[in-house]
Amino acid sequence: MFAGTTMLLAAAAEAAEKVAESGALPPESVGLPQLNTHHFAPQLFWLVLTFVTLLFVMWKIALPRVADVLEERRDRIKRDLDAASRLKGDTDKALADYEKALADARSNASGIAKDTREKLAAETETERHRVDDQIAAKLREADKRIAATKSKATSAIGDIATDTARAVVEKLIGQNVSSDDVKKVLRPVAGE
């Protein structure tokens, strides 16, 4: 700024000199035009006029429009952000619901599986018992039959032995012997 001022003074001096040399210019244009008081009034008048007009135009017309647009944009962005956050909340809620439903279904499923398993196990158990009982009954019956057959066979062996013994004795002594006598004799041998 100092350089500028120095330059300015030099230029002013030069101008003044030039004016003094020529002497042709009217006296009111001597020196800096900025310091010519004759021009103050019209400049001030037009400055006030244009400044006040501009102030009025800006205040009442131009600036409210900019403010409106900026406010509308701010509102719009805020609205959109609000809507977005609301939708996000909804999404989160839906997701939570879904996960809860999934967890419920899973626990339900495992409950059902457990029940089914238990029921099946119980059924299997009763069936096994029934089959066991059947088998036991059949075994008992079989044992009985075996025992019967055995006793029958034993008695048959006794008869055969008696018959054989009687036949042998008849052959040896040449006379008839009753079966009862043979039996009587054989009993101690058979260990009965």
Partner: protein, 238 residues
Amino acid sequence: MEQFEIRKLWDLNFLGHDISFTNSSLMMIVALVLISGFMIYAMSARSLVPTRIQSLAEIVYEYVAGMVKENLGEEGMKFFPWVFTIFIFILVLNVIGLIPGNFTVTSHIIVTFALAAMVWLTATFIGFWKHGFGYLKLFVPSGVPFWLMPVIVPIELISYFIRPISHSVRLFANMMAGHTMLKVFAGFAVMLPWWGKIAPAGFMVAFTGLELLVAFLQALIFTVLTCIYLNDAVNMHH
């Protein structure tokens, strides 16, 4: 110096006062039309997604609004239209004055002084209106030892009353010095033989770029100082 000369384009008189339409008045009207036209045309679509020109208008708006909010707070926004008008008026006058052949309104001390005086008077009026005689506390900074008061208070008073002068001279001197400098180098470029023209011409190209920056910066400084003076008056934070 004829670039600073006021030329009457149309002689006008009002109750004996000279209110002639001059080249200065013409540039003020041009600025008025340009600014109003730009702001209204740019916002004519009022689109949610701005066009280039609309976002330019919005950038200027938000820039000045940010400046006002930063200095004056949210409640200072009631001064916003006034601050905005000061900023854009000075900015456009500075910039169109850079176009060769155009007159620079802000290179006249009477114009910048009138603007600075308006700011100073407004701030002073608001200060007394809001705080009554309490506004005088502005000249008695808190935390200063009592025995320093006889020195501090006159300094504060002088600095307060000199505000409109420093405020106006800063803008005026910058505009005038820049234009004078350009003129001087243009003169060199004309006077020198062809092989010597390149240096001053190149300098002028660079300096015109610098002047564009200065035109913006001085409008900004003028506006920031307006906000600071207003803040003193409204909030009395010293």
